[in-house]
């Protein structure tokens, strides 16, 4: 399945992601990492710690709804993989981000932005392994 090259839209999206990251650090002193936010939301340590996570997640979920209302059409989500692959992939991602203590947002954006050696190592590692996996799935198994 081919997709359109969207450098400006992607850059603008990236600038928004970066801005929200800085704003969360400025206001609450927190890292905008999807893994950390979600894990703390699922296993809360206190009411005040849970409430900001819930608010942040609620804001995220509102985004596509608001965009659908404003533009008149839902954001594009194209799924070239099977339901089984979603289940297996989702489970593996959950295990990996817990042991690796972060994902694309936490390590790839926040950690890279503060030049954390752990995040740079993590980001390089998952980018390489994602590329290898996509190669194997698409060009070795031909899925």
């Amino acid at each position: 399945m081919t997709t359109e090259f969207t450098p400006f839209l992607s850059l603008f999206g990236g600038l928004l992601i970066g801005s929200s990251t800085v704003l969360l650090m400025l206001t609450l002193g927190r890292i905008m990492g999807a893994t950390g936010v979600l894990a703390g939301f699922l296993q809360p340590t206190s009411a005040s710690d849970w409430s900001w996570r819930a608010a942040l997640l609620a804001g995220m979920v509102t985004a596509p709804i608001l965009m659908t209302v404003v533009t008149g059409q839902p954001p594009t989500i194209q799924v070239p993989v099977s339901t089984l692959m979603m289940i297996v992939g989702g489970f593996i991602v959950g295990v990996g981000v817990t042991y690796g203590a972060g994902c694309t947002s936490g390590h790839g954006v926040c950690g890279m932005a503060r030049f954390s050696p752990r995040s740079i190592a993590a980001t390089v590692t998952f980018m390489i392994f994602t590329a290898i996996t996509v190669y194997v799935v698409r060009h070795v198994f031909g899925v």
């Binding site: 399945m1 450098p7 992601i17 893994t35 894990a39 995220m60 954001p75 989500i77 993989v81 990996g96």
Partner: protein
């Protein structure tokens, strides 16, 4: 209340960024990594754009004279700087899962709002994976403790 509203709006900005960028579109994500197939280089602009803002932004925020966030007691920034096997193996595992599904947690969470069945499936599996890993981590920690005692 101001804390909740501002955090909600920050989540909204993050979510719009994710949805616009293409990070919540598995076809686009997988194509970014498929250099030898249907390559789509767009996503390099996402990480590039985000770091372009976050790197100087973080530096400015943490360098504030007050030394603490506007609505919090302290900056919660990871202090661990050690590279260990857990970090590398975990990240490699995450990469394998991302390459199979095409969703990462930051891409999937805002997309829940679309109620797309693939997103909901991925997120449910993601949560099961997180709890499974937390359980095995606790198990290993308990074994290590009892071995030490």
């Amino acid at each position: 209340m101001l804390r909740i509203i501002s955090t909600y709006l920050i989540g909204l900005v993050f979510g719009i960024g994710i949805m616009m960028s293409g990070m919540a579109n598995p076809a686009k994500v997988l194509n970014f990594f498929d250099v030898f197939g249907t390559w789509d280089a767009s996503l390099i602009f996402v990480m590039g754009g985000a770091i372009l803002v976050a790197a100087p932004g973080y530096w400015l925020v943490v360098a504030r004279p007050a030394g603490k966030p506007l609505m919090g007691e302290a900056f919660h920034v990871p202090q661990n700087r050690k590279l260990d096997m857990k970090l590398i193996a975990g990240s490699a595992t995450f990469g394998v899962g991302w390459g199979i599904a095409g969703f990462c947690p930051g891409g999937a969470l805002p997309a829940i709002g679309t109620l797309n069945p693939a997103v909901l499936t991925f997120t449910a599996a993601l949560v099961v994976g997180i709890f499974t890993a937390k359980f095995t981590q606790n198990l290993t920690a308990r074994r290590a403790n009892s071995a030490a005692a």
